[in-house]
């Protein structure tokens, strides 16, 4: 590369790098630094002594954190799996040519376009035990059978999972739809000529070709699901009995409610590390598949 090109190269990259530095690298570094200190907002006399890995050590022995980890893991696995499944079905549906397809495609995106806080509030009303639509839809006027969804530990987590599936399946559908659209029509015609039925065409033509897109959706959804916060914050505040106390919410409470900045940072950094490891694994996996697919 000749020097003049290099200059232009960096000049063009500079804005992006600057934004990444200010809005991503700086806060992450700050959190990592915080997590090695004892910082308690209510006790400024403490100053903020460096305490090495003490916060992390404590985190390992924190039974509430461990419980939060399992809750988060359950949330991530069920939502990701269901969202990919629903997303795939949606994508296959809106890929078909039929009258009104354009408006249906737009409709599918609505849940994803609504801010999570708003849709969480909506789901909270829907799941209300006394005047929620969900109880009314299932039991009608049989008030005695009404289920207090958000008041029972198991159903509360289920409610949040359902709200997330409703909200983000369309995102998975969008990614998979993009994968569907690059499959040449001739492949299907050839398969038809060879006598393949709908099922075989799906397994032998569609599925192998959309697999990279599904993997990309999987990557995005897993990482995003690990950071779940707003749904639990609005719908249950982590309750009842910590049943929906996902890791990010626990970290938030430690930091901003209890003022335990160092410990809360250690929780967020741990989530960051989990997500980072997942991302690296996925990207390697997906990267290879993508290469194979394009060959």
């Amino acid at each position: 590369m000749i020097p003049k090109d290099r200059k232009l190269y960096f000049a063009l990259l500079a804005p992006t790098l600057l934004v990444l530095l200010v809005f991503i690298a700086a806060p992450i570094t700050q959190s990592i630094i915080f997590s090695f200190h004892r910082i308690i907002v209510g006790l400024p006399q403490l100053q903020s002594p460096f305490i090495g890995f003490d916060n992390y050590q404590e985190l390992l022995h924190d039974s509430v954190a461990r419980h939060s980890f399992w809750v988060t893991l359950l949330f991530v696995s069920t939502t990701t799996f269901s969202e990919l499944l629903v997303g795939l079905l949606l994508a296959l549906l809106i890929h078909h040519r039929f009258p009104g397809r354009g408006s249906l495609r737009a409709c599918v995106l609505i849940p994803w376009a609504i801010p999570t806080v708003v849709s969480a509030q909506m789901w909270r009303f829907l799941f209300n035990d006394a005047y929620g639509m969900i109880n009314y839809a299932i039991f009608g006027h049989g008030v005695a059978h009404y289920v207090p969804w958000l008041a029972k530990p198991n159903t509360a987590l289920f409610a949040i999972i359902l709200a997330d599936i409703w909200k983000t399946s369309s995102f998975a559908a969008l990614l998979i739809l993009a994968g569907l659209q690059i499959i040449p029509e001739e492949l299907y015609q050839a398969a038809k000529v060879d006598g393949a039925g709908v099922w075989r065409r799906f397994w032998h033509v569609t599925w192998p070709l959309i697999r990279p897109a599904v993997l990309v959706a999987l990557l995005f959804r897993t990482i995003d699901a690990f950071r779940v916060f707003d749904l639990a914050f609005v719908m249950t505040q982590g309750g009842p009995a910590d049943a929906t106390n996902v890791l990010q919410l626990y970290g938030y409470k430690k930091m901003f409610v209890e003022g335990w900045m160092g410990y809360g940072s250690a929780i967020s950094v741990s989530v960051f590390v989990i997500v980072l490891v997942l991302a690296v694994v996925y990207v390697r996996m997906v990267g290879r598949r993508l290469l194979e697919a394009s060959l």
Binding site: I40, V41, G42, L43, P44, Q45, L46, V64, N128, D129, A130, Y131, V143, A144, P148, L150, A151, K152, P153, A156, T236, Q237, G238, G239, P240, A241, D242, A243, K253, F256, V257, E258, G259, W260
Partner: protein
């Protein structure tokens, strides 16, 4: 021009320019009342100007703003509002000025005792109470009359009356009791009222001993789990905050209801409430052999340690918390005064007749554990209470002991700082 002229005209008359003090408060619901009070202050104190700075309405966000400015030793704040659970934190951190010499014991006597206790940390006082909130007991006057009951004095009476009323009304959607049992700050208030009215406590204020796992507390928690949740109150109450629980009551679906003073206005508004006009209010019930209790809320004035105008700031705080100002606040904004004398004022009794019904409950009000690390204690309590009441199989004793140990740790952290 007129403003400039008036300033220059007044200058020769007064040797000093008017001192400006900055007052940091949240966005009020009735700004015109606050404006009127400050206008009055300007008229009566021409040599002090109050510059009002408005912060966010939510207590948590306002806390973030105030603490940030005080932590940075910002001299541009002289007077600020404090939520009832902050004085210990502000005192321990050295942000709020010690007002003991100005706010004498004699002056303190005019205020409701709980509001003074909430502003006192290790024997010194750091805030002047402005108005208060406390847990109140609302009931359906019409239903109690129909079945010839007096408002219940004990929790067990409440259950017995409720059962009789439910049987008579034969309405499957009617419940005995509605309150706030979601895992949040309100849960601590509601559960403390049960524990206090059973003779239990969380922390002994003098010895700093943690008493969560004592029998008095555990029995009260077990009572709520076994008799209230899913029985007297709908199970859904485990996810209720104030609005949902009030909704049940104003829809006529609960005989008894626990809420803050604001619920009075809503419950008697015919546009919002189906039970307007048939609502009674008083102190919460207690367990046999114990007195009722109410969790204290409300706001106080504090003066910044970094203020350069302490004298003027104190004059302003004294004015705002005076008998006359609290009277205006009570009549025009409907907020509950911290000075007992205001309740006996004829104009107040005439215009806000329900305030005197609140007084017995206010006199029994108690602050939540006073500690600079209260938020940590609260989180542990929320966890304990929510776990205990959500599952009838929980071992409350074991849970209480684990919680006790965790709160013990917080108390020790706090003590280590004082050493």
């Amino acid at each position: 021009m007129i403003l400039l002229a008036s300033v220059s005209l007044s200058l020769p008359a007064r040797a000093a320019e008017p001192q400006t003090i900055a007052f940091l408060m949240w966005k009020p619901n009735q700004p015109q009342v606050w404006e009127r009070l400050i206008e009055r202050f300007h008229q009566t104190h021409p040599n002090i100007r109050v510059q009002v700075q408005i912060g966010p309405h939510s207590s948590t966000e306002f806390h973030a703003i105030v603490t940030q400015r005080l932590r940075n030793k910002d001299t541009s704040v002289d007077v600020f509002l404090m939520d009832v659970i902050w004085p210990a934190e502000f005192a321990s951190a050295g942000w709020a000025m010690d007002l003991t010499s100005r706010f004498s014991k004699k002056k303190q006597k005019a205020f409701l005792p709980a509001t003074i206790a909430a502003n006192t940390y290790h024997g010194r006082i750091y805030g002047v109470p402005y108005y208060l909130d406390a847990g109140l007991f609302y009931y359906r006057k019409d239903l109690l009359q129909k079945y010839e009951f007096d408002p219940p004095k004990s929790w067990h009476d409440m259950l017995a009356q409720g059962k009789a009323i439910l049987k008579g009304e034969a309405d499957p959607t009617l419940h005995i009791y509605s309150a706030q049992f979601k895992q949040y700050e309100g849960l601590v208030c509601d559960m403390l009222e049960f524990i206090w009215s059973h003779g239990g406590r969380i922390i002994d204020q003098d010895t700093r001993k943690v008493l969560v796992a004592e029998p008095a507390s555990i029995q009260a928690v077990t009572f709520v789990r076994d008799q209230i949740i899913g029985k007297a109150a709908p199970r859904g109450a485990v996810n209720y905050e104030e609005p949902e629980s009030l909704e049940l009551f104003i829809q006529g679906k609960a005989v008894f209801h626990r809420n803050w003073p604001y619920a009075w206005t809503v419950a008697n508004d015919p546009e919002k409430s189906k039970v307007a006009g048939s609502v009674g209010v008083g102190a919460l019930p207690a367990f046999a052999g114990h007195g009722p209790a109410a969790a204290l809320g409300g706001w106080q004035f504090g003066i910044s340690r970094w203020s350069k105008h302490v004298k003027e700031a104190w004059v302003f705080v004294e004015f705002m918390t005076s008998f006359d100002s609290q009277k205006i606040l009570a009549i025009e904004a409907g907020l509950a005064p911290t000075r007992v004398a205001v309740y006996n004022d004829p104009t107040v009794q005439d215009k806000k007749s329900h305030l005197k019904d609140f007084l017995p409950a206010f006199k029994r009000a108690r602050p939540r554990p006073v500690s600079p690390l209260y938020p940590m204690i609260s989180q542990e309590l929320q966890r304990f209470f929510s776990r205990a009441i959500s599952d009838s199989q929980t071992d409350v004793q074991a849970l209480a002991e684990a919680t006790s140990a965790k709160i013990e740790r917080v108390v020790q952290m706090e003590a280590a700082i004082r050493r």
